[in-house]
């Protein structure tokens, strides 16, 4: 399998609440020359509930995913969802222990060969493809868009297992957004918890935790919060109305990074799928255009000024004075 071909594990939310992530991920990967092979008849990784019950059960569900991949000759898997990634990666790490692997096999009854790996789509784009290649593809740069990146808990933690970026202050999404042309604001809550699936059993948790993230983003003047996790997106976007009812003053659209990539690559509305977001993103884009206009005007002004100065300098040197004298004259003027 070449480096640009991966087995693809969309995760259950890709068929439902994160449809826009799924669509834009496939479109962006196609654009970047990545071939994604769907794992045949994949099953749920068990998410947080499975490892709450038992890591062996969680790993057994993940092991079936890898076994299904094996039937199609897939060894290297990518997934857009950090929760799936965490479960699949944990399963591989834990199964290096012989007893643990035997316990998993007692549940799956399907022995697994060695040599499996799993990565997130973000990691593949940043590490395997590289930001230079992403930059080359940009046709509609996001100049003027003020974005804050939000990574969530699981993308970089636990450090020893995820082995990607800095666990407390990751930069990959920041750099990716900069490559797309956006202005990235430093965001102190980029790896703080959004409340996860606790929003259902403990109603208070999401307004409190996601509310903090939305409020800080609003106070920083961010146009968008860019996310990489379906559960974070659901808490920040779909539940934003619930959070506003509890006293949040801001409205911040929360797109996936792949949606912004699709937009920057000049792909159509179908691929970028902004319509599927609960909070309308068009105000953010109109802000971006206004700011882009201002930036352009400012650049034009600076360029005109520089041209004027150059012309003045050329005029003086053109009148027959020696270079040293003109420098002296310029110094005198100053």
């Amino acid at each position: 399998m070449s480096k640009a071909t991966f087995g693809y594990f969309p995760g259950c939310s890709g068929l439902g609440t994160s449809l826009e992530y799924e669509r834009s991920t496939r479109a962006v990967c196609r654009e970047l020359g990545l071939t994604l092979w769907d794992i045949p008849d994949w099953n749920c990784c068990g998410s947080t509930p499975a490892h709450t019950v038992d890591p062996v059960l969680s790993s057994a569900l993940s092991a079936r995913v890898f076994a299904q991949g094996e039937t199609a000759g897939i060894r290297d898997v990518v997934t857009p969802c950090p929760s799936c990634l965490s479960n699949l990666r944990n399963a591989l790490e834990h199964m290096e222990d012989e007893l643990f692997a035997a316990r998993v096999e007692a549940l799956t009854e399907r022995p697994l060969e060695a040599g499996h790996s799993v990565k997130s789509v973000l990691q593949v784009i940043v590490e395997d493809i590289g930001l230079d290649k992403v930059k080359e593809r940009v046709r509609r740069p996001l100049v003027g868009l003020r974005a804050v990146p939000y990574y969530g808990c699981l993308m970089t933690r636990p450090e020893k297992i995820m082995r990607f970026d800095d666990p407390e202050n990751p930069q990959s999404l920041d750099l990716l957004l900069q490559a797309l042309g956006a202005e990235v604001l430093p965001f102190p809550l980029k790896v703080d918890c959004c409340g996860g699936s606790l929003g259902i059993p403990v109603r208070e948790s999401v307004p409190r935790l996601s509310g903090r993230i939305l409020e800080l983003a609003g106070e920083l003047g961010a146009d968008v919060i860019v996310v990489a996790c379906p559960l974070c997106q659901m808490n920040l976007d779909l539940r934003q109305g619930q959070i506003r009812a509890k006293g949040l003053d801001y409205t911040v659209p929360v797109p996936y990074f792949t949606q912004l990539m699709a937009y920057a690559f000049g792909l159509g509305d179908e691929e970028a799928a902004f319509k599927l977001l609960a909070e309308d993103i068009s105000p953010a884009f109109s802000c971006m255009q206004r700011r882009a206009g201002e930036i352009k005007a400012e650049e034009a002004r600076v360029a005109a000024l520089a041209a004027q100065k150059a012309a003045a300098k050329a005029g003086r040197t053109g009148s027959g004075q020696s270079q040293a004298k003109s420098a002296g004259a310029a110094g005198g003027e100053a």
């Binding site: 709450t52 918890c193 059993p201």
Partner: protein, 280 residues
């Protein structure tokens, strides 16, 4: 300091040898002593004088009200359950004795606001072998598994892993301090069992059924249903019986470490037996 003459365990929880008294002010009542034996005492009868009943309505019967008026639960450190400590350490693969109570985990914990014990308190309770207090705490159920504590622990303890181990143990012992949490987990796994994949509408329906919270998040439905983001029908996979079998085998206890270890030993024995036959 004169010894008070009482036998048993001292305040630090370590056993004082037979006939060696623990050190206490002479004449004072033995503060945390339990006259009956070594099991933890939670009654007012044995409470020292400075422990008053909390004036606020709170879950704990016995509280220590500090000078500032804050209430603290009094945890009596006698009756350490060493088997419990070993079980947590084995299940999580962590050494809980390495925790020196710096409180970094609690400082970073996003769910602390909802806990009865903070993370560092849970760690201390585990060190003190307080099985009952740990397993019936809300904290182990409300942990969001965000791994912030594990990341920031200066002694590199995987604190979230310890919390996970305690939650698994509480589940096995049928102690569900947060019932809704259990209902959500059950609803999720049932959905996976039926369909091979999780199905959001199905999970919510089962959750409402298990908890009786009929209107949970229904106000969100108009935002997702018209966009096709929450299909009413599940995406069932062909191998769903295989997934159901995994969950069934788990419930039957086929992955119990003892059982698997015994089987591995048997297999190894059979193989070496075969090898001997081949040689002979």
């Amino acid at each position: 300091m004169q010894p008070c003459g009482r036998l048993g365990r001292n305040l630090r929880g370590s056993r004082t040898a037979e006939g060696v008294p623990c050190h206490r002010r002479p004449g004072s009542a033995p503060v945390f002593a339990n006259p009956q034996g070594l099991s933890p005492v939670r009654g007012e009868a044995n409470a020292p004088a400075f422990v008053r009943k909390c004036k606020k309505q709170c879950a704990f019967k016995l509280r220590n009200v500090t000078k500032r008026g804050e209430c603290m639960e009094t945890v009596l450190l006698n009756g350490r359950d060493d088997a419990f400590i070993r079980a947590v350490e084995e299940s999580s693969g962590q050494v809980v004795a390495r925790c020196y109570q710096c409180g970094n985990c609690t400082a970073g914990c996003p769910m602390s606001f909802a806990y009865d014990y903070s993370v560092s308190q849970v760690m201390r309770l585990i060190q003190a072998g307080q099985k009952d207090a740990v397993l019936s705490s809300k904290a182990v159920w409300l942990c969001a598994a965000c791994n912030t504590c594990s990341q920031r622990c200066p002694n590199e303890i995987n604190v979230a892993g310890v919390m996970d181990a305690c939650r698994q143990m509480a589940r096995r012992e049928k102690k569900f301090a947060v019932r809704a949490m259990r209902a959500f987990v059950d609803a999720f796994l049932d959905s996976v069992k039926f369909n091979g994949r999780s199905h959001e509408v199905g999970i919510m329906a089962l959750y409402m059924l298990y908890t009786g919270r009929v209107w949970t998040d229904v106000e969100l439905a108009p935002k997702v249903l018209p966009k096709g983001k929450m299909p009413l029908l599940p995406h069932r996979i062909k191998g769903r019986s295989e997934v159901a079998a995994i969950i069934d085998r788990y419930k039957q206890g086929l992955s119990d470490p003892e059982r698997v270890r015994a089987r591995l030993a048997k297999d190894a024995g059979a193989e070496s037996g075969k090898g001997k036959e081949a040689v002979s």
